[in-house]
Amino acid sequence: MSRTAFHDDADAAVAGVRDGDTVLVGGFGMAGMPVTLIDALIRHGAADLTVVSNNAGNGDTGLAALLKAGRVRKVVCSFPRQSDSYVFDELYRSGALELEVVPQGNLAERMRAAGAGIGAFFSPTGVGTPLAEGKETRTIDGRDYVLELPIKGDVALIAAHRADRTGNLVYRKTARNFGPVMATAAASTIVEVRAVVETGALDPENVVTPGIYVDHVLDLAAIREAVA
């Protein structure tokens, strides 16, 4: 019996999120965005959150809605400014939101390091730029590097294509993006999947995220059936 918990209720899936948590949120644009879990987190009411995600919300839904509800203290992301990021833009300009901009590859690698037990790493990305100011640098074998620290989440909210009953995950196309890395980097990983399949139905050779990283699975198909 897997220790992964399976839910057909989004509110139950996010019930463990606490005020002040660092929440890793998957997705690149809308691909891989855990929209149902974010909506549940808004209903849940946890506040004073630090959100780590590639973007800072689009339009009025998902991450933008979480920001608009005033639940987020700080955003750590690579690309907050987009044509439809007006919710973030307004909060940031009014001083209501702290922002840490991180180069996209460093963002991914800092979470990978957290998940892999690496204390810090030297990255060539950002050397000599404003984003390296105040950070330790070192020349190794003639090349300059910046010291980057891990980003560890209390919680990760991600989306995958399928989970089996052991918690193994597969993704679909570029919706994979940050999911596998975030799943390793959080104390508790919560995944929404389009469908849960029986253990054994996923080819072990094709599993991308092994169930050891997966704490809660929300089965979107079960929700749809319940509504129907």
């Binding site: 690149f28 940031y92 590859g105 060539p124 990305t125």
Partner: protein, 224 residues
């Protein structure tokens, strides 16, 4: 008398953005793994021969990215780095974000084509932030791309809308990367930049001497 291999195409107008893209495509070796930055660099894909064997990388986790998707091909799970829906090509592969940037940072990509606000004569790049006090900083993958590929090519107009040159002695905008650019493709000229400064490889609509009068950086002709 020194010989030069710099080619001056004085009998024509400046290059259009599509013509710049075609020149870049001409210079990308067949079989290269290539990342095309968001915006104008994506035009380069339209000029790559189908049999060139060039494989496109998109930093959100794919090698073998195809053209923009149309109609029923549109799949929300399959987009490029600009979040535009695209299609697969035979032999494509998917991987997560940390692997995608490891591939870049680890020096496995051959070529990256980026836009720029400014490039310095020594190859410093500024393309992520104007430094305006009210601007919201957003870097995306620009800094990772700038230091990642073996060859970083810049595609830009040589002069900004206000008439100032974007090829400068040193960048006044916040830097994206230091000494990372190898070539600058513009509407008026193709430059090589680096530790030794600027070499003009090709011009369009004007001569190297005419170009030198309009720029604040020393220009050299390519050695014959």
């Amino acid at each position: 008398m020194t010989t030069t291999s710099t080619i001056e195409h004085t009998d024509r107008e400046p290059l259009s953005k599509h013509e710049i893209a075609a020149i870049i495509a001409r210079d990308i070796p067949s079989g290269s793994y290539v990342n095309l930055g968001i915006g104008q660099p994506t035009l380069v894909a339209d000029h790559l021969d189908a049999d060139s064997g060039v494989v496109l990388h998109t930093e959100n986790g794919m090698l073998g990215m195809g053209r923009a998707a149309e109609g029923d091909e549109i799949d929300p799970d399959l987009t490029n780095a600009g979040k535009v829906p695209v299609v697969e090509t035979p032999g494509c592969s998917y991987f997560h974000h940390a692997d995608s940037f490891a591939m870049m940072r680890g020096g496995h990509l051959d070529v990256c084509v980026l836009g720029a606000f400014q490039v310095s004569e020594h190859g410093d790049l500024a393309n992520w932030h104007t430094g305006a006090p009210d601007a919201i900083p957003a870097v995306g993958g620009a800094m990772d791309l700038a230091i990642g590929a073996k060859d970083v090519l810049v595609m830009m107009t040589l002069f900004a809308k206000d008439g100032s040159s974007k090829l400068v002695p040193s960048c006044t905008y916040p830097l994206t990367g230091v000494g990372c650019v190898s070539r600058v493709y513009t509407d008026l000229a193709l430059f090589e930049v680096g530790p030794d400064g600027v070499t003009v490889l090709e011009t369009w609509s004007l001569t190297v001497d005419e170009l030198a009068e309009r720029l604040d950086v020393p220009l050299r002709r390519a050695k014959g």
